[in-house]
Symmetry: C2
């Protein structure tokens, strides 16, 4: 289970684990693959699982009032794909998580994810730190409303240089809050 190692490395950034704890984490998880376009989780349902991205890029997205498909965030390697908050609160999720490329994920069911607190001493602390870092990064790396479209695009290139090359431009356009025509124009002017 070599790919599990990237998950363990990730978790070790948030707290220590002994050998048996590492084993129980590995035993709780399963690996899955998603084809480009497939959904990891869907709006309208209570979230049932937490994923860790081993390979590929996903996006969190929803349909706005006008029915447009809006990308709220990108999720690439070495980060969590989950609706953290609605997972704990058992509330219905308001957004989809969709694979932008073929993906490999390590997946925990909700019960497995939360059950780890029985076998991993610091699990609650680790879990909290992970969720907080995810939320923090999203807010810090995300587009800022007070910047104009060009600046938001340049920031995006800095924060997600690899994502840029791997997902369709229209996803990036809605993420940055511009039409794809505008984004195309902006790219032209910058080059």
């Amino acid at each position: 289970m070599l790919t599990m190692d990237s998950l363990i490395d990730y978790i070790l950034r948030f707290g220590d684990l002994n050998t048996s704890e590492i084993a129980s984490i590995k035993a709780s998880a399963t690996q899955i693959e998603l084809k480009k376009g497939e959904y990891f989780s869907e709006a309208g349902a209570v979230p049932r699982q937490v994923g860790f991205v081993v390979q590929g890029v996903l996006r969190g997205c929803y349909y706005n009032q006008a029915g447009e498909d809006i990308t709220r965030c990108f999720i690439a390697e070495d980060s969590l794909a989950a609706d953290y908050l609605n997972l704990e609160s058992h509330q219905i999720s308001t957004e989809y998580i969709q694979a932008c490329t073929d993906c490999k994920l390590i997946v925990f069911s909700k019960a497995q994810w939360e059950g780890l607190s029985h076998t991993v001493a610091a699990w609650d602390t680790i879990k909290n730190k992970m969720v907080q870092l995810c939320m923090y990064q999203k807010s810090r790396k995300g587009p800022v409303v007070s910047q104009d479209a060009s600046s938001r695009y340049l920031e995006f290139l800095k924060n997600y240089p690899d994502v840029m090359l791997r997902v369709p431009l229209r996803y990036i356009a809605s993420y940055l809050g511009v039409t794809q025509q505008s984004l195309s124009r902006i790219r032209k002017n910058i080059t």
Copy 2:
């Protein structure tokens, strides 16, 4: 100490407290007042305290690369005024927290805030839940880059109806990512 009660009520939303725990929380805190325009915390320094807003409105803000004063968030009654993440990580804060109106706050020094884990059993859990809710609300109630300026303004009115009436329009303008002239025009067109 009647005003302490609003703080205790707030904390009780995140976990249970017994009588002695309530007493130790009250004993750790002090009350302060801020005049309109005064700063609760400043950029460039490691955050030293956590505040709970009893009365008034504050804003989190920073100067962007062009030197413009940008409001990133509003903090009104019954919420926490703090740079949560840099508080724990001991990192230098990148933004100010400034009183938009005369304010009454209940304040914990960093040592007091963290020391409560010794006297309040569920303190770490409570603290984490509070921080997560704050981050979540900011992301959910904040302006969305994919909406146009009018929609962002209308959303703001829904989410912060009282703040609208208590802070200068220019703070709201930078929060919504428009000039105050544009916001003035938008308000005119809506009425």
